[in-house]
């Protein structure tokens, strides 16, 4: 990596990982990459395929098939990480990973992890913000397949100008 004098020193030191992958999400590997010598806390959110849904329209899920507009999705993940850093400057490392393809119940599909020096720095809220924003602006979709047939799951967020 070359020198980049326009960026604050902090941003260069703090690791940010964002990716769309077809591979299994390796939590230990990701966590190691966003742990610095100054890190003492990590908040990790992961979502998985739910086989049995009881809330709302109760149903069973055989599998979910995920797809993404990959280059835009990775750009928007980077934007989510920048938004996290703007709101919680104490956050050190950030990892945002979405797995795509055909994924079966109990399989982790997404991971948002934020690290910080201490747990009372907003690191929980930062990870929560990350998953909420991913579901709003990162172009990923999933088709649900179950005993009742298949249908696309659609979100309800309409992005605003500048998002």
């Amino acid at each position: 990596m070359g020198s980049c004098p326009s960026l604050p020193r902090k941003f260069m030191e703090f690791p940010t990982i964002f990716s769309i992958t077809e591979d299994e999400i390796d939590l230990n590997n990701l966590l190691a990459k966003i742990t610095l010598s100054s890190t003492g806390a990590a908040a990790i959110f992961t979502g998985m395929v739910r086989g049995m849904t009881s809330r709302g329209d109760a149903h069973e899920t055989e599998y979910l098939e995920y797809e993404a507009y990959v280059p835009m999705a990775e750009e928007k993940m980077k934007q989510v990480a920048e938004e996290i850093r703007a709101r919680w400057p104490t956050v050190e490392g950030i990892a945002i990973v979405q797995r795509v393809g055909k994924l079966f119940p109990k399989t982790p599909t997404v991971l948002i992890a934020c690290t910080a020096a201490h747990r009372d720095t907003g690191v929980f809220e930062a990870a929560r913000y990350g998953i909420d924003r991913l579901k709003e602006i990162v172009p990923i979709w999933k088709k649900e397949v179950g005993p009742g047939g298949e249908f696309w799951v659609e979100g309800d967020y309409i992005p605003k100008a500048g998002e």
Partner: protein, 82 residues
């Protein structure tokens, strides 16, 4: 004329029957103009145009936006990652 690429995802791809198309559009065409053109030329997509999300060069775009030369456009429903 302006030669653009239009990508479809999720429900839009199913209805279009294609992952992407290339098309020539008039210079200075707006996003609203593109929706009108797609409605006219692709009847399967007509019902989707009122709620579709459109991007220009991987950024969200709105009805008044003018489509730049050789743009990469995409159409899709509200996102549902996670």
């Amino acid at each position: 004329m302006n030669h653009v690429k239009l990508l479809f995802f999720a429900t839009l791809r199913d209805r279009a029957g294609a992952k992407s198309i290339e098309l020539d559009v008039p210079a200075e065409l707006t996003v609203q103009g593109l929706k009108d053109k797609i409605s006219d030329e692709y009847p399967n997509l007509r019902d989707s145009m009122s709620s579709v999300i459109i991007t220009i060069n991987r950024e969200y775009a709105f009805d008044e936006a003018v489509i730049p030369l050789n743009a990469e456009l995409a159409m899709f429903p509200p996102v549902a990652g996670g």
